[in-house]
Symmetry: C2
Subunit: 224 residues, 2 copies
């Protein structure tokens, strides 16, 4: 780097709400509910992957889905129509993430009695949702091939808080300058223990393996 200056501008964006998250996680564990927080950029294929996962997991679990969006009920309607599972649409009224308080209210709005696997589709945003522990049992972070293999370099926190990463839209790999090796290296640079699944909801490739992985994680809570 020669010509380029690097300037650091600080701004305090401390989250005030994370203390509460652990108690939500503990309560869900006591009640035998696995709570999966799904985060990614807009348009990475969250809803499509969630539908594919539900269709593989609904024989083993009683699933509920929270769809969080700034506006519209497009995703909740899709999930509900295609999978038939219990679904609630949350509007954040402009907010770019869910706090754990908002997640808790969403769980209450959904109603988790009789459920043992709840999926939260967070706001499409690779920055802010990572800063707010929702009380989830695990964070599934999605990176889509068209976004590029460099995203873990530019959005570090999201990949640091990921318990598992799914790289989606693998079917369009030939159309993009995206390296599977670089993606894996960049993800593991942020979090060396995070398993990475390369999937295509179109062809189905990799989705069984991801579903099996989530099943094994969930059963540690639902069968405890």
């Amino acid at each position: 780097m020669e010509r380029v200056k690097v300037v650091e501008i600080k701004e305090d964006i401390t989250s005030r709400n994370n203390a509460q998250a652990q108690s939500i996680r503990d309560e869900l564990k006591r009640r035998g509910v696995f709570f999966l927080n799904v985060m990614s950029s807009p348009g990475s294929g969250k809803t499509t992957l969630i539908v594919s996962l539900i269709n593989r997991l609904k024989k083993d679990f009683k699933i509920g889905v929270i769809e969080a969006d700034i506006d519209s009920a497009v995703d909740a309607q899709t999930v509900s129509d295609v999978t038939g599972v219990k679904t609630v649409q949350i509007h954040t009224m402009g907010a770019c993430h869910l706090t754990c308080q908002m997640a808790y209210e969403s769980l209450e709005a959904l109603g988790i009695d009789g459920l043992d696997f709840v999926i939260l589709e967070n706001i499409g945003n690779l920055v802010c949702p990572a800063e707010f522990d929702t009380g989830a049992s695990a964070n599934l972070v999605i990176l889509s091939v068209p976004e590029g293999d460099d995203k873990p370099i530019k959005y570090p926190l999201m990949f640091e808080v990921a318990d598992v990463v799914a790289v989606t839209k693998k079917d369009v790999l030939p159309a993009f300058d995206f390296s599977i090796d670089k993606a894996e290296t960049n993800i593991n640079m942020r979090n060396k223990n995070t398993p990475v699944f390369f999937v295509s909801a179109v062809s189905g490739e990799g989705v069984d393996e991801l579903a099996e992985y989530l099943k094994s994680k969930a059963m540690k809570i639902t069968e405890a």
Copy 2:
């Protein structure tokens, strides 16, 4: 909608900084500097499009570029290497957007004496940057084909504040379920006066037209 409940959760995320933005805009106008704020999701092709635009505009303007990222200097290095224009990398230290104060400090870090066209590549985020007026002369919002034509439905504010929209990665249109008509309808639902350019930085399609449009907007300030 039958099965799906819609719950509205409010959170106050008022921006405290917008009052200052107009005075920044006025100062830049007095100094004859057109300031373009480029916003989009991560991985939508902002940097690639910016490079393509600079190569078309640098014969007419003295251009400077501010690259804002949470981490890394990848983009600034690319822009600087490929175009040779004056470039500064800003790190927001985790922040998901630039306030106008941060934009002003970035302009000072870049040094705008002798420049008449400054491009700010904002943080890749379709939510928060829309809430903060940076003092820019115009907002260019990018939506890439792989993200889907429904994004203006889900992320209303970003498309409401757009002065011009570029739909990028048109070359991969055949690989995605994306309708140009629906995209245009959804964008104009949020802002009926926003011109929409469909472009491919790979094939060059549409980039000349977008560059000409930006040139005509900029000349209103630089030649005033």
